[in-house]
């Protein structure tokens, strides 16, 4: 259905059901006027409190005293005012408990809460509004609310500061104890590990390096001496053998030479069969055999190992020199071995000392760290404790947070809540809207047809015609009277509404 169709249908239907529409208009107006007359009157009293935290002392104590967080002041105020203590006092003060039994206190408290509005105006002004049907009580209760709120807030602030100071004080004591303990432990560690001091570790490392270097040098010398020893031994044995063999063979060869010369000389004079020559030849042969025997002996000596050199060898100067050197070398080896052993022992000592130092260092670092942290926290806490002490003193002297009644309790000029005029005007509006709404609902839900074009759409058959009511003269006359009457009824209703409103305004009703 198009809006124009709905509007037209509503107008048509309003005319059709004009008596019903006017009837509902009258009933609705009567109902709203009655409701307006019976509606309890409500008076609202309000007061404003200036919550001042920027006192003269505060800038002086900037950074030392901590201001209470002012965020969402109205929420805090609501929690304070609607607290059990203040509400109980207000109930008693307002005289509710006298007239009603205390069992209803809970319900009364809830009602009072509903009628109380706490809001913030600007940053620091708190506004308390209380609505009551008794204007005097509205004033008194609002005043009491403001008074109790200020008292409670100051007390709460002082309590808060005191609690903060106590807490920080306790924390300070704890950290002081910790610091003392750490100091004692440090002292004990230092006395038990004297060599544990700053830089000890580097010294140990240097020493260890030096020892390692010296051990390596000594080992190297030892290895060299040993090689020399081996070499000397080999030389000594070789010299003995060769000296002995070469000296005897040499003697034999010299002798053979001499005999050969002699033989040559004899041959010049004698035949080979000459006894001298034969003798000489025999001698040469013996000597040759002797050489061979020496050679075999030498070979045998080589295979069977050294043997005690004989006197000739021993008397050999080279041999003697070698033996001297060998003796010296052996002394060197012994000395080096002893030195290395000593150096090894020292190295062991240094390593164990290094290990001891490491564990001591770790413990020292831990204790030092603890000590530094505890000292920092302790110093910070000391500072905070002093701040808290100042805050507490300020609160106890009412210097930190001040409340000032900005606007004394006053009763609002007009009655709040729905006023009688609202009922009167609302009645007229509802008197029009309700019948229209009902007619609209009837148009929507009543299956009986009220719009001709809807028939054509529903049955796909054109509307031949829409016939309006044919008014006879008598009907017209009756309608005229009816319309006049209905208009009078509507006007009378509006006039009655206006008259009652006026009487209410001049407080006749």
């Amino acid at each position: 259905m198009l809006p124009e169709q709905i509007a037209k249908a509503l107008i048509t239907e309003s005319f059709h059901s004009r008596r019903l529409v006017v009837g509902i208009f009258v009933i609705v107006n009567a109902a709203t006027l009655t409701a307006g007359l019976l509606w309890p009157k409500a008076y609202t009293a309000s007061t404003s409190i200036l919550v001042d935290e920027r006192t003269i002392i505060q800038p002086l104590m900037a950074g030392a005293a901590v201001a209470t967080d002012a965020l969402d002041r109205s929420k805090n105020a609501r929690e304070v005012i609607f607290g059990r203590r203040i509400m109980d006092l207000v109930l008693e003060y307002g005289g509710w408990l006298k007239s009603k039994p205390s069992e209803e206190a809970e319900r009364l408290t809830e009602e009072i809460k509903k009628r109380t509005v706490i809001s913030t105006v600007g940053k620091n002004i708190l506004r308390i509004e209380y609505r009551d049907d008794d204007p005097q009580r509205a004033l008194r209760v609002t005043e009491k609310f403001a008074e109790l709120f200020i008292q409670e807030s100051i007390a709460a602030k002082a309590a808060e500061s005191g609690a903060a100071f106590a807490f920080i004080e306790k924390q300070t004591q704890d950290y002081q104890d910790k610091l003392t303990r750490t100091e004692e432990e440090l002292k004990e560690l230092r006395s038990s590990n004297l060599d544990v001091r700053a830089g000890s570790e580097g010294e140990v490392t240097t020493r260890l390096n030096d020892l390692h270097r010296r051990i390596e040098a000594a080992a190297q010398e030892l290895r060299e001496a040993e090689i020399k020893e081996t070499s000397l031994e080999r030389q000594i044995s070789g010299e003995a053998e060769s000296t002995a063999a070469i000296s005897r063979e040499g003697q034999y060869r010299t002798r053979i030479g001499e005999l050969q010369s002699k033989l040559d000389t004899l041959r010049l004079s004698y035949r080979d069969t000459h006894p001298d020559i034969v003798q000489v030849k025999q001698q040469i042969q013996d000597l040759t055999d002797g050489i061979n025997a020496q050679r075999v002996r030498r070979e045998q000596t080589k295979r069977s190992g050294p043997s005690e050199p004989d006197e000739s060898v021993v008397n050999n100067p080279i041999y003697q020199q070698l033996r001297r050197e060998q003796s010296q070398n052996q002394s060197t080896i012994e000395a080096l071995t002893a030195r290395i052993a000593e150096l090894q022992r020292q190295l062991q000592n240094e390593v164990s000392r290094g290990k001891r130092m490491h564990s001591g260092d770790a413990r020292l670092a831990e204790l030092t760290r603890d000590y530094q942290i505890n000292r920092d926290i302790y110093q910070d806490l000391l500072r905070r404790r002093e701040n808290a002490r100042v805050s507490m003193n300020m609160d106890s002297d009412h210097q930190g947070l001040t409340f000032k009644i900005q606007e004394p309790v006053s009763l609002l000029q007009s009655i709040v809540g729905p006023r009688f005029l609202h009922f009167a005007v609302g009645g007229i509006l509802l008197g029009v809207l309700i019948p229209l709404g009902l007619l609209y609902a009837r148009l929507q839900f009543d299956p009986r047809i009220r719009i001709g074009s809807a028939i054509a759409v529903a049955h796909k058959l054109p509307i031949a015609t829409v016939v309006p009511h044919l008014w006879s003269r008598r009907e017209l006359k009756g309608l005229r009277w009816e319309l006049v009457l209905l208009t009078l009824v509507v006007l009378a209703t509006i006039a009655a509404s206006a008259a009652v409103s006026a009487m209410r305004f001049i407080k006749v009703l």
């Binding site: 047809i449 009220r450 028939i455 049955h459 829409v466 016939v467």
Partner: protein, 276 residues
């Protein structure tokens, strides 16, 4: 106001004084009828003049709820004129039998039938005959001074009764009625009888300018409606504001041949009248 509307209004005003002269031997063609001369007397069909009763006054007509040509500006009168024009156009110049029935009791089909007849009678070239076929709750007799004048039931029950004896003038020029007659409970047989068929044929054929309107019973008498719609050329279904439902209309339309459905008349729409 457009030129066409002005012309229509002018023609409507003049129609009361103009005569549509039927051409002998030929059927008059609506809309193309020749306008010949002006006449002084409203009764221009001579055969009707002799048995016309005294014409009803404006007050009498208003009392009977019948429209008058003098109320040209009345929306209701204009509506009936338009409806008449629509039917004439649909009939293409022929006279027609129109059954007016309502979707339920009390929708005002009799009112529509009576005034549709009156609208036809406005036209000096046409006559209207209203037959009250609503034998259980007849209403046409109220138009007559003699309410007990013989009607349909007498015609069916009395073989000697001639048709012209049951046609009565009502005091409106060119407007005749046949009342229901005495009340009868069982009426279906009357409408299905040969006599009824004969009656309708006679009435229709006798005068070419005569438009016959049957005021039928409401749709609750569905059998009657079926029978009567067979006798009619067109059927007008009357629904009433704030009374008829779509279901009722649908049931009613189901009973009638689609070819004969000329439309739905939405009756009694509340409109603020001109109060002088």
């Amino acid at each position: 106001m457009s030129k066409i509307e002005k012309a229509l209004n002018k023609a409507r005003e003049e129609r009361g004084n103009l005569q549509l002269v039927p051409v002998a031997g030929a059927r008059p063609v609506p809309g193309t009828a020749l306008v010949t001369n002006r006449v002084a007397h409203p009764e221009t069909i001579p055969r009707m003049a002799k048995n016309e009763v005294r014409l009803l006054s404006v007050g009498d007509l208003a009392q009977r709820g019948v429209i008058q040509s003098q109320q040209g500006e009345d929306p209701a009168v204009q509506v009936f004129r338009d409806l008449r024009t629509k039917i004439v156009q649909q009939s293409q110049g022929q006279n027609a039998v129109i059954l007016v029935t309502s979707v339920s009791q009390g929708c005002g089909s009799s009112f529509i039938a009576q005034n549709l007849g009156a609208a036809f009678a406005f036209d000096m070239g046409k006559t209207a005959l209203l037959i009250d076929c609503n034998l259980k709750t007849p209403s046409v007799h109220k138009l007559l001074a003699n309410a007990s004048a013989p009607g349909l039931t007498e015609y069916f029950e009395n073989p000697d009764l001639d048709i012209k004896e049951i046609i009565h003038p009502v005091g409106i020029a060119r407007y005749r009625v046949i009342t229901a007659g005495k009340r009868r409970e069982i009426i279906e047989e009357y409408f299905t009888s040969e006599k009824m068929k004969h009656l309708m044929d006679t009435l229709r054929r006798r005068y070419q300018e005569r438009f016959i309107i049957m005021d039928g019973p409401p749709m609750s008498k569905i059998a009657d409606i079926r029978i009567l719609s067979d006798l009619a050329d067109w059927v007008l279904v009357v629904a009433r504001y704030a009374r008829s439902t779509n279901t009722q209309i649908a049931n009613c339309l189901d009973a009638i041949s689609e070819k004969k459905q000329i439309g739905i008349v939405f009756n009694e729409e509340p409109r603020f009248p001109r109060i002088r």
